[in-house]
């Protein structure tokens, strides 16, 4: 069975500091991994994806994520957080060549303080 775990309900970071939002996954076969952010009363906004190739993926708004197959992780990172990065972050998984639906983690609320 496929699953995504986001072990932290909330992450608090001071503006200007680096941020990490954690994600681990479980899947048979190769994973396609995605990060989305949700702002209040809005839908999910796509940030980045890992399909194949380089383990370090760069996405929108300065975010990046590192795919680690041995640790089955796909942590989201940003070198310098902004207050405007505050939101609800979701990691999602899709199995290569299999289902088209996304399996989502429960979400991590990121709060960046001035």
């Amino acid at each position: 069975a496929q699953s995504v775990a986001q072990p932290e309900d909330q992450v608090n970071v001071a503006e200007g500091n680096p941020l990490t939002v954690k994600c681990t996954y479980s899947v048979s076969g190769n994973p396609y991994l995605f990060w989305y952010v949700q702002y209040p009363n809005r839908g999910l906004q796509f940030l980045l994806k890992y399909i194949t190739g380089d383990n370090l993926v760069k996405g929108s708004y300065g975010f990046e994520a590192e795919f680690n197959k041995s640790q089955t992780s796909f942590h989201l990172k940003k070198p310098s957080a902004l207050v405007s990065d505050s939101g609800l972050y979701f990691c999602a998984l899709r199995r290569e060549g299999g289902y088209n639906k996304l399996i989502f983690g429960a979400g991590t609320r990121l709060a960046v303080h001035p």
Binding site: Y32, G43, L44, F90, N100, K101, I103, F104, A106
Partner: protein, 115 residues
């Protein structure tokens, strides 16, 4: 339009009534998905449409839930005899044709409240 459009943005109705939610995907996106997001939780897959193929209805929680799609355009999600447990945000997403590596683009959702 430029993005996925959902209507209404908010819907309040009494228990036992039927509701219909609408999704207008991005033009050219053949794949369309419905998800449910309960308060404070992640997204649950409900149903998936891909072109003229039979939809994947495996996520629909009960036979009170159904969805239709007209060709490769508008979709409607219908909930019959609503229950309080149906209260949630219902999100629609669409993606380009092709392989599963395409990201899904989400609408802003319909916030459904059952009194």
């Amino acid at each position: 339009g430029a993005g996925v459009s959902q209507s209404p943005s908010n819907k309040v109705t009494e228990k036992g009534k039927d509701v219909e939610l609408r999704c207008d995907p991005i033009s050219g996106h053949t794949a369309l998905y419905w998800y449910r997001q309960r308060l404070g939780q992640g997204l649950e897959f409900l149903i998936y449409f891909q072109g003229n193929s039979a939809p994947d209805k495996s996520g629909l929680p009960s036979d009170r839930f159904s969805a239709e799609r007209t060709g490769e355009s508008v979709s409607t999600l219908t909930i019959q005899r609503t229950q309080q447990e149906d209260s949630a945000v219902y999100l629609c997403a669409s993606s380009k044709p092709g392989t599963a590596n395409q990201p899904q683009h989400f609408g802003d959702g319909t916030r459904l409240s059952i009194l």
